[in-house]
Symmetry: C2
Subunit: 360 residues, 2 copies
């Protein structure tokens, strides 16, 4: 198959993901929730966390590394905190349910923070943080990951790149949404450079011997990502590991298996979620007026050489989402082929048979 890109309407991708999750054992309602996390990731341009990962999540459900019907429990509760046991369910379901509970408690207490243990990979962190926007709250979501990054001063992958997302309501078209991992780039970007046979900048990765390299092929095997901002990104990754993993009683560092290959075993991934109710601090409209000032003053900054304009966190992703809504969500021929193969395996209609879709 040639390298092509096909455009699918949101509805078609949602339906395909929902059916896949149901066939893998989820109830319809929860399959719908999980599908939404994946499709929204593709729409926001976070392709690495989109439908491309659907078969891995489903395989975990089929292989019983992830439970289809977990008993998600509140282990500890106070007015502003929750400790949640995800019972090895799907990270997406645990994430959505926990964030809803967090917002409910933040409405009363002003702020709520939840730690989660016994979860699994939850996909795009921004999804959960953004649930707070509709409620007039500031949302936080973070997770630990298997070790993929060297601690600053180290030369082996000993810690996760532990993504953190924060979402803020605004009066603009777009919400303010920061969603960053603590490595300079994701492993996905290095893989892409390897496929395209392009050099990568110094500072992205170390090779298997712990030496700096500009050759993306040196990343495999045994290479490691490097932290963004040197010791600063490393320090933040340690704090996020502590909050997601240590405080919650989840796994940490080398205890974290690879969720996409070790599909029959629980990962005991840890997350945390937080919501701040803006109303507790003052009028939401006043907050939005001030956010408006913040955004427009930043955007009025003269741009540097090679840059068109100053962007606000989440602005690019929002534009991409609007485009996908109008024009369809791009799926590469390679991903489409994998999803079709997977569809045949579990006995649902191939995605390429879903109409309407069109070639880009």
């Amino acid at each position: 198959m040639e390298k092509k890109v096909f455009l699918f309407p949101e509805r078609a991708l949602m339906e395909f993901c929902r059916q896949s999750f149901q066939r893998s054992g989820l109830r319809e309602e929860e399959a719908e929730l999980a599908a939404d996390v994946l499709v929204k990731s593709d729409m926001r341009g976070v392709d690495t966390h989109g439908v491309v990962r659907l078969p891995f999540y489903c395989k975990r459900l089929i292989d019983k590394g992830t439970k289809t019907d977990p008993q998600i429990k509140i282990l500890r509760e106070k007015p502003a905190m929750l400790l949640i046991d995800g019972d090895n369910g799907l990270g997406q379901i645990i994430g959505i349910k926990t964030m809803k509970k967090v917002m409910e408690k933040a409405r009363t207490s002003g702020v709520c923070f939840a730690g989660v243990r016994n979860s699994c990979h939850f996909g795009m962190a921004a999804y959960y943080a953004m649930l707070a926007i509709e409620e007039g709250m500031i949302g936080f979501a973070a997770t630990n990951t298997p070790p993929v990054m060297a601690p600053w001063g180290g030369r082996k992958a000993f810690i996760g790149n532990n993504p953190l997302a924060i979402a803020v309501p605004t009066s603009e078209d777009f919400p303010m949404v920061l969603d960053i991992s603590m490595s300079v780039v994701s492993g996905g970007k290095v893989r892409l450079a390897a496929v395209k046979r392009e050099k990568i900048p110094q500072g992205w990765v170390l090779d298997g011997n712990g030496r700096p390299t500009e050759n993306p092929d040196d990343f495999f095997p045994g290479g490691t990502l490097l932290p963004m901002g040197e010791h600063k990104g490393y320090g933040l990754a340690v704090i996020l590991e502590m909050l997601s993993g240590v405080l919650t009683g989840a796994g940490i560092l080398s205890e974290m298996p690879l969720w996409f290959s070790d599909t029959a075993i629980p990962t005991n991934t840890g997350h945390f979620f937080m919501a701040i109710d803006i109303d507790a601090f003052g009028d939401l409209n006043v907050f939005k007026e001030r956010i408006h000032k913040l955004i427009h003053e930043l955007k009025s900054c003269p741009s540097s050489e090679g840059s068109k304009e100053v962007l606000i966190p989440g602005e690019i992703e929002f534009c991409r989402e609007q485009t996908c809504r109008k024009e369809g969500i791009p799926v590469s021929s390679e991903v489409l082929k994998n999803l079709d193969t997977f569809a045949s395996q579990i006995g649902i209609l191939k995605l390429s048979f879903c109409l309407p879709h069109r070639e880009l």
Copy 2:
């Protein structure tokens, strides 16, 4: 005066700072608190935020830009949140008092978050976060600052480098303490390179025309610091500005005057503080056992070329503090001269007359 370094015992510096603050109008008890923040900064190697700044804080008190007897008020309160009006008092006093109240509420609610408006520069952020350690809590402290950094894609200083500190109890000799600003380096480091006539790496600053430069002299005037981790550090700075400035009703971006030169006007600086009570999530000793594992597994990572070992956030600062306690706190002849001049102005004994101190 030649370039020399003198070593002072903690007690001597404390006494000098306390007297200075009292002469500038603070009550003894509060002068003692403010002195401790400054001296601890020097001891932790955060010299830029130590006694070198004492005359500026005092000048603000004398010029009435900072009130000597502020009525610090709780404007809003819920089980897990506080909105504090600092009434333009000294940032150090507001910070300590707010953090204590935050920890008191976290003891009941599990977590508490406080926003502060009408404060001023509070010095080393880690000081406030570290107050939580003794209580078996995780502490957070952050502030906005006058614009010193370019937004990513911009070429002028439009946003603060907005430091964030997080402190975590451990079972090691040292607590885990992250204290970072969102710029690659502080302006102080650029100034130091200029004094030493050393080149600076690409990526630290832009010159007055928004161009990359390796000459530290190009930083003055009109140059700007750059964010650490490119768009990631910029994004975090925006979030910290939102939490410290927008949520709290404090000043933001260009509204922030230079606290050390505009000494007769309030700065309306914003901060936030947070505490997480570890006990609410589980046994503190179990937490510490897991932190022990986190720390020792990270430290077991083979080191990269040019690095001796992997360090834990706060480890260097702790060692420095221990050394200062034994050997004395270094004060350069230049800083000593300034402090002596200041002492004469306000009519207290010069620091250089304080015994015992010795030349390094």
